[in-house]
């Protein structure tokens, strides 16, 4: 570990617009400050990119009557990302982040071969992306398609540029100036104990609902699908095999074992088709939603107490591999197949707010539903804690934090495209709750044909054929988004790879891919929440202090059980909900996620003010205020709305009155048990809405008070670490600049000596 050094240890040397900074006279520079103006060539290139982007946006937004090709969406997204990354992210870098590459990052200072490890920027980008990409940006845009493709497209792209990327980038910034501290710790350090405690409670409850809803998405995709259940079940023995292989047979051969794992996984998907056709396969794996729910609960508990090497680590390799591979495959598929949109730009449900997929009007519920594709609070848990401990240079944060989220937004656009190219009648057949579609092809067709949709009506035979095409008995009311995405993906991928004979394979491949990384999130999330819980409880003191020791098994078991019981009970509630579960829980998931983002943006804003950059407070401040407006409006409506479809409590009291009046059926509840279930569920959902909103208001209030204090000349000081001189060099962007290449050469020419840190690049 290096020792703190004063600024006097820096040796600067300026040539034209470029300043080279050395921390050791005898070594090449560790930092380059390049202030050269933008070249004519770059001006022309960015001008062309901006023009193509503007044309694409115009076509998406104003072409009516004609079908729009998916390629325009891809172009509009990519051009906007390029411009945002070059200009807006650069502005944030210059005005707020102000990277100092002559200072060592936590990875360099604390390098320890386990979690603190300086990692090449391109590799870290891959790691960071694999960690932030999840089911959210895939499922959210699919559900948001209820309102047409235009509102979703605009929010996924613009929301990412101005809020999601800003949050990820700035959280990464504050955490890497604090040894990679976690979000909860930073709130405590910067806002004091009340804000800190509220943040911890908020984060744990928010994680609980996130895990429950993700698990619910898997359950909805797997219920009564022996093919799906078989292939997902097989991922567990495959992961265990990989774990044993890496632990005992060939340690360190990660690619090798991952390739074997992926091959076995593909075999599991293919053989799932054979198993599903047999009688025993049908009876063993054709499980009800409730059974699958219990299996997930048991699995979540087991994964959280079993050794990491056995299940969690190998699953993580497998899911990283599948995630990056499949998203790449889908992008290629969309570009080659060039499907056209079936969905309208703006549907009737956008205005009326009476859509069957989720209730509520465009504002705020569209933003709540898309959530992760544009702004994801969960990312702040990765941008603090994990990624900063691997960062080589501060100037790389723009690529990893801002750029990583742009890529995630692109995944959201892909998901939106796959949902928009589906027949709209089929889309609503799959996504409306069973109580509306009636569950049979005839009733579902009648239901869908009575919706205010454009295009030809659907026949029951077409619905049955669509199910047969993907190798399922039924696709009616397969809510949750995952099955719809899988149908869309099989639609795109079979055109490019394998023809219509492989439609069923691609459908189940997509289901397996989603379920695989949702389960990875669930087991890692259970473990993370368990640590937060034991850490939070141990702070209460007394006998609870024992929980601080992570090897104290009774504590591990008790906290794991508590976490699993929390999300498990919400999961079971969602599965058995007479009103469809996902429609009422998904908005809660979105609200939870967006409120977490509000906590992250609050802490970022406080740091910006404390550092004296008040003039630039609007950069995190505008997304924060927008996010608070959206989520608190949504929370308000969920708590107080008089419309029983939107407001939990109105619904709660209506069903209660019905029960008191002695009714045996009411609304969508078919018997007294169901009425009681609705009363119980709406009570829990309503209470959670109140809890989330309160915790976030407390954190925001603490932040506001801190900002006021700072402006009046008080406030607590910043908790940034003392800078330490860096001893290594690495380029900032994806492609090294000419100047950076020259400095890299100087470093490469050095003999390997004590003074030189081991670089991570391919040189």
């Amino acid at each position: 570990m290096a020792t703190p050094t004063a600024a006097a240890d820096r040796f600067e040397e300026t040539e034209g617009d470029v300043t080279y900074i050395r921390t050791d006279k005898d070594l090449p520079p560790v930092a380059i400050v390049d202030t050269s103006p933008i070249t004519v060539r770059h001006r022309i290139i960015f001008g062309i990119v901006a023009l193509i982007g503007a044309i694409s946006w115009a076509i998406i937004a104003f072409f009516r009557g004609e079908t729009v090709n998916a390629v325009w969406f891809v172009l509009a997204a990519i051009c906007t990302y390029v411009i945002a990354f070059r200009f807006y992210a650069r502005l944030i870098e210059m005005k707020i982040v102000r990277p100092r590459d002559d200072n060592a990052t936590p990875a360099e200072v604390f390098e320890n071969d386990t979690d603190y490890m300086p990692t090449d920027r391109r590799v870290l980008f891959g790691h960071h992306f694999a960690a932030i990409a999840g089911a959210g940006p895939l499922v959210g845009p699919v559900l948001a398609m209820q309102m047409g493709y235009l509102p979703g497209t605009i929010w996924i792209i613009i929301g990412a540029v101005f809020s999601g990327c800003v949050q990820d980038y700035l959280v990464l910034w504050i955490s890497s100036r604090r040894r990679g501290r976690s979000l909860g710790q930073m709130v405590r350090d910067e806002l004091g104990s009340v804000g800190g405690a509220a943040a911890i409670i908020g984060i744990i409850t928010i994680m609980t609902i996130l895990l429950a809803v993700l698990a619910l998405v898997v359950v909805q995709a797997l219920a009564q699908s022996p093919w799906g259940v078989f292939s997902i079940a097989m991922t567990i023995p495959i992961a265990i095999f990989m774990g044993i292989y890496l632990r005992f047979l060939r340690p360190g051969r990660v690619s090798e074992v991952s390739l074997i794992g992926v091959a076995l996984l593909l075999l599991a998907v293919v053989s799932g088709g054979w198993v599903a056709e047999t009688a025993w396969g049908e009876s063993w794996f054709g499980l009800s939603a409730v059974t699958i729910g219990w299996c997930l609960i048991v699995y979540g508990f087991a994964a959280s107490v079993l050794p990491v090497w056995l299940l969690l680590a190998p699953r993580d390799y497998l899911s990283t591999f599948m995630k990056v591979g499949t998203i790449g495959l889908l992008a290629i598929g969309v570009l080659i197949a060039q499907p056209v949109m079936q969905a309208p730009a703006i549907s009737d449900f956008a205005g009326s707010g009476q859509g069957p997929v989720f209730a509520g009007s465009l504002f705020p519920f569209l933003f709540i539903t898309i959530a992760c594709g544009a702004l994801s609070g969960f990312h702040s848990l990765i941008a603090s804690g994990t990624t900063p401990k691997m960062l080589e240079k501060e100037s790389q944060m723009r690529l990893i934090g801002y750029g990583g989220m742009l890529t995630e937004s692109f995944v959201g656009i892909m998901a939106l495209i796959t949902a928009a190219i589906l027949n709209q009648h089929l889309y609503f057949t799959m996504n409306a709750p069973a109580a509306a579609t009636g569950g049979t092809a005839a009733t579902a067709a009648e239901y869908a044909n009575n919706l205010p949709l454009t295009g030809d009506p659907i026949t029951p035979a077409q619905i049955e054929q669509a199910a047969r095409d993907v190798g399922e008995d039924s696709i009616i009311s397969r809510t949750g988004g995952a099955p719809t995405l899988a149908v869309g993906m099989s639609e795109v991928l079979h055109q490019v790879f394998g023809g219509s004979g492989l439609k069923a394979f691609w459908y189940h491949f997509a289901i397996m891919f989603e379920a695989l990384f949702i389960l990875t999130t669930v087991d890692a999330g259970t473990r993370v929440a368990r640590f937060m819980l034991s850490d939070g409880l141990s702070n209460l003191g007394g006998p609870l202090r024992k929980l601080k020791d992570p090897s104290w098994r009774p504590g591990v078991w008790a906290c794991s059980l508590a976490v699993v019981a929390l999300w498990g009970s919400i999961l079971l509630m969602g599965i058995t909900d007479p009103l469809g579960g996902i429609n009422s829980l998904f908005p809660l998931f979105g609200i939870a996620n967006q409120l977490l983002a509000a906590i992250a943006l609050t802490i970022v804003s406080v740091v910006v003010v404390k550092k004296g950059y008040l003039k630039w407070l609007w950069i995190p401040g505008i997304p924060l205020l927008w996010d608070l407006t959206v989520t608190l409006t949504a929370s308000w409506q969920k708590i107080f709305s008089g419309d029983p479809k939107v407001g939990f409590w109105t619904q709660h009291f209506q069903y209660r009155e019905a029960l008191d009046a002695g009714k045996t059926t009411f609304g969508q509840a078919k018997n007294v048990d169901q009425i009681e279930a609705v009363i119980r569920n709406t009570f829990i959902q309503g209470s959670l809405s109140i809890l989330f909103a309160l915790m976030v208001i407390i954190v925001f209030g603490a932040g506001l008070m801190m900002v006021m204090g700072v402006l009046r000349g008080g406030g607590t000081p910043l908790t940034e670490d003392e800078p330490v001189a860096s001893r290594l060099f690495a380029p900032s962007g994806l492609i090294p600049s000419k100047v950076e290449k020259e400095v890299l050469k100087q470093w490469d020419a050095l003999p390997k000596s004590h003074a030189k840190s081991v670089g991570t690049g391919a040189h």
Binding site: D113, T114, D115, M117, T119, D120, R122, V123, G126, H127, A131, I132, A133, G134, G136, L210, L246, R247, P251, G252, R253, V254, S255, E256, S258, V308, W309, L312, A313, D316, S319, T320, F321, C372, S376, F378, H379, L381, I382, G385, T386, F517, T520, T521, A524, G525, R527, V528, F531, P550, S551, N593, K752, S753, H754, K756, S757, V758, T760, A762
Partner: protein
Amino acid sequence: MGRAAEIARQIRWYWGSLMGDNHYRRYVEHHRIKHPGEPVMSEREYWRRRIDAIESNPNPRCC
């Protein structure tokens, strides 16, 4: 030929760094330079230590 080989090498390096195949080699090099003369963990030990560190410091995966 030389260029193709260079690109192949880059891809192999990227892949190996992303998945972890060359992490042990990097550790050995780093250890040799920073702590010369001290014993170096075997590959088995190194991975055991790294994976077991996740036990008390899990990496969250996003939703």
